[in-house]
Amino acid sequence: MATVSYIEAINQALKEEMRRDERVVIWGEDLISMNGVFGQTRGIFEEFGGDRIKDTPICEQAIAGMAAGAALRGLRPIGVFMNAGFSLCAFDGLFLKLGCSGGMRWTDNLPVVMYGVISGLSDDNDHGMSPEALYMHAPYLKIVMPSNAYDAKGLMKAAIRDDRPVIFWDHAWCFFMGYKDGKIERTREAAAQEIPDEEYLIPFGKAAIKREGIDITLVTYSFQVHNALVAAYNLEKEGISVEVIDLRTLVPLDVETIVTSVRKTGRLLVLHEAMKRGGAAGEILWRVLEEAPDLVKSFKSPPRRVAAKNLPMIPVLRL
């Protein structure tokens, strides 16, 4: 076991998969020149050379489209948008093509990972927004949003080995802070985790129960897992026992774990950072009701969601 930061965990996943399979290549914005901004791609150029990692011009449509083309010609590309919001420049390629299976045909494998970072609420819309709900609508996209270093590594390795397109959004706050002892600490230590020395993968569609509880089920993902854990810690002092579920992947969605939990607690709250209208919470609630319609009668209180208001972020005109 070694203590590994979130960034190191992603970096390890990329390097291990690139060593394992020479078809794995990565390209995107400033991967060599700036180590992927946060250091995710540090050392990859030195180890693997310029065929395996490439800095693209600022061309998001090309980052996405080239990945589709290269996958069809036998590579397993990872395309990197600096920010998740920038992926919207490539929405056609991601949603209409990869998301609806490469344009016309569904039998070909499309082993593509599209990666980006959500900068969070401190930034503007373009950098900070959480666009996952837009991609959830596509029939062929799997969507991964980890909350911690351990999960990020195992999920990234699983994403690279998946034969279908995967959208992988990291949250920048997870790089620098995390839940520790009842609060969120802004230290790299709080964002680091013990990771086994041996290889591991985390399968998609398996949520993690981060904290067990009996009074209410709190379902969330990405950085909000840490806020949920803080809330659970504080509520415990008031005598309310919260079960916190980290979804890890939005598609596929682990409905079973949520239903099992809600059968126990009788209450459901879904939390996400993205805007409320059309957000993932509505889909999650309905999937739960479709899976277990009987829950409607046994809820101790109506299901609720906590999400961002339907408002743009306030632009920060900093230098």
């Binding site: 449509q61 489209g65 010609r73 490469g102 016309m104 598609v251």
Partner: protein, 318 residues
Amino acid sequence: MELPSKTILLKLYRDLVASRQVEAELYAKQGYLAGSGGGAHRGVGEEVIPIAICNNLTETDSIHPNFRTFYCLFAKPGFTMYDVVATCMFRDSGKFTLFAAENGTLGSSSTLGEASVRYVGAAVTATIKHTKDIVVFIQGDGASNRAPTHEAMAVAAAWNLPIIFVIQNNKYGMGTAVEKAYNIKDLSVRGAGYGFPHETVDGNDMIAMYQVAKKHVERCRAGGGPSLIAADTWRLRPHYEGDPQIYRPKGEVEEWWKKEPLSRYQKELMDLGVLTEKDIERMEEEVKAEIEEAFQEIEKLPIVMNYENIEKTAVAEL
């Protein structure tokens, strides 16, 4: 430039005849799919460009044919008339001609131009895998204005990729004349901005088109990097069948039918003494028989569109 061999000249002629015949058959037989109003986007008169290019490619080279003339793929090594007919009639021959990655077709895009970046992906792959494959990306003057095309060219230029961009300039982007969508007459000059060698060619002149394609393909395969060809042609049909074409000046279509490439090439070959009346008759019959056989054979194949297959692979219920 050196004249292509007689064998090549006749192969190009046969392909041109075949393209005209198969297009007419497909249009007639697909009618029920599009309803009585038609709706087909026909490529009559623009066939020289893809045929001349396909005849310079290998089985593993990649090509994106302009959507109007994708049925001309039978001329590319790796594909047959049977595959083209099956694809266009929604039958599964095991080789869906517009999406057979091993033979270099990676689908297209109805949001015009988006496919360009996908084909750049094929060019990148050739450099990473160190193959000798090249990519030819053909699209119209309308699609060439779209954003992805520019990103495709920017990346191809930055990475010196083995890809040839071709603007099949048929003078109309849907209903908008090329003069209204560009402030340049020679569309190939756009290549200069990317540092590409670029040239314009008469895309209705089979021999010139073949020679230009050959030159660019050889250069590209030798590692010369990307280039841009603007091939002038003309859209003889409406944007879609049923389009009232209120944007067309009177008499324009009649003028261009006089310059249509099949009869032009036929005359040229006869003047060169390469082609006789007898050859023409024989080839037309051969091609007709080949196409008839293809239409009969594909009847035995399963229909491609099958929602059971789709549901197996989608993550719709995840």
